[in-house]
């Protein structure tokens, strides 16, 4: 049975006879933006994020037959995304890009100047963390993953997640204190 799949690519329609391929296409169309958001936080650059998502999805595509159930696609792609991110960081030839374009997005007449300031601060601060610290922060505070889930995702121990989180927050407190609760408020809790 041929399945029409409206690919997100410029409205073009892809036609495939393979139902597994069709399910994967639907998954990409429906969920790639979620991966893209996480990838953007990890890389700080939209184009690097696209590359990361593309690579993670390609890996997922190659494992479609093994994954079987469609519900596993996203978990697999997400894990691949974080693994690729950390692996790229380990490669010495990989040069990280520093954020620069985000300041243009926060207009002076914005209704949410405060939130824009926080975004810019966060964007710059994330670029000054190590990729692993960045990954831990994204998993814990963007994806709301538990320490155990984050450890599973990054293939490390829970202790590593705790220590990396602590170091990342300590660094953020120095370079972007506005993002974190005040010390006296935290002490009062």
């Amino acid at each position: 049975m041929a399945v029409d799949v409206a690919a997100a690519s410029g409205g073009r329609a892809l036609r495939t006879d393979d139902p597994v391929e069709a399910r994967f296409c639907e998954f990409v169309r429906a969920r790639s933006w979620v991966l893209q958001r996480a990838a953007f936080l990890l890389t700080g650059d939209r184009y690097l994020a696209e590359d990361l998502v593309q690579e993670a999805l390609a890996r997922t595509h190659r494992s479609l037959r093994r994954l079987g159930d469609e519900g596993h696609y996203e978990a697999y792609a997400r894990t691949a995304l974080y693994h690729l991110h950390v692996r790229r960081w380990r490669r010495s030839r990989f040069a990280e890009s520093l954020p620069g374009e985000l300041a243009d997005l926060a207009g002076p007449d914005s209704d949410h100047a405060g939130r824009s300031d926080l975004k810019i601060s966060l964007h710059q601060a994330l670029a000054r963390l190590t990729p692993r610290q960045r990954a831990v922060l994204v998993l814990r505070f963007f994806e709301d993953r538990s320490e155990a889930e984050a450890a599973d995702m990054l293939n490390c121990s829970i202790g590593t997640i705790k220590s990396q989180t602590s170091k990342a927050l300590a660094r953020l407190r120095v370079i972007a204190p506005s993002l974190l609760p005040d010390d006296h408020q935290e002490a009062a809790r």
């Binding site: 690919a7 997100a8 690519s9 410029g10 892809l14 296409c25 990409v28 169309r29 790639s32 933006w33 893209q36 958001r37 996480a38 990838a39 953007f40 936080l41 939209r46 994020a49 696209e50 998502v53 593309q54 690579e55 999805l57 390609a58 890996r59 997922t60 595509h61 190659r62 985000l102 997005l105 939130r115 926080l118 975004k119 601060s121 966060l122 964007h123 922060l137 994204v138 814990r140 505070f141 963007f142 709301d144 953020l172 506005s178 993002l179 974190l180 609760p181 935290e186 809790r189």
Partner: protein, 204 residues
């Protein structure tokens, strides 16, 4: 701990919106297929290289022998008999003769298959090279002088230090071993009961 970080959470959520929502389906598909092709090419190339190396090694070994033998063929095992005459898996095809009328039955193939220096004569299914590597062997034997009888082989050395010949014996446990050297042997000393219809060629 994470409940105290609403500002950080909010900023992350806002910042993530800047990631956009690009189309990556076709690109991911293209990358996946490209990787698959690369893997297939690498696998095929590896297999081809392994085959070339194996063929090249075989050719090099064949050329390295001073008396290159014709390509060895695997001799099919004949019907079993009680005789423990050895059969080497890479022995060349030979013309049957009365001397080796008893077929080989042993399947001893653990000894490393050495290249044959020459085709053995006299209907032997053992090569001179095998005998040269036999424990106790003293000098290389002349492949033209091999004469077999059951699990015994007598051969003259290539550069004879004397006038004696070498006697080798095969056992299932130890394979081919150098047994004795001399110009004449006595079958009773060797523990061989002589059958007048099938006398050993090395007993006086």
């Amino acid at each position: 701990m994470t409940g105290d970080f609403d500002r950080l959470r909010g900023a992350m959520s806002d910042l993530a919106e800047h990631g956009g929502s690009p189309d990556v389906y076709e690109r991911a598909l293209h990358t996946s297929h490209r990787r698959h092709r690369r893997t297939m090419l690498a696998t095929t190339g590896g297999v081809a290289a392994a085959v070339l190396v194996a063929v090249g090694a075989g050719v090099a070994l064949g050329r390295g022998s001073p008396h290159a033998a014709p390509p060895a063929t695997v001799q099919p095992l004949p019907s079993p008999t009680t005789s423990p005459t050895p059969s080497l898996s890479r022995s060349p095809t030979v013309t049957p003769s009365s001397m080796s009328s008893s077929p080989s039955t042993s399947s001893r193939t653990s000894r490393p298959p050495a290249p044959h220096r020459s085709a053995p004569t006299g209907g032997c299914t053992v090569s001179a090279t095998t005998l040269d590597h036999a424990p106790g062997a003293r000098h290389p034997v002349d492949p033209q002088t091999l004469r077999c009888w059951h699990n015994w082989v007598i051969a003259a050395p290539l550069n004879p230090p004397g006038d004696g010949s070498y006697l080798f014996r095969y056992t299932a446990k130890g394979g081919w071993r150098f047994y004795a050297e001399g110009s004449a042997f006595t079958c009773t000393d060797l523990g061989i009961q002589v059958d007048p219809k099938d006398p050993p060629p090395f007993c006086g």
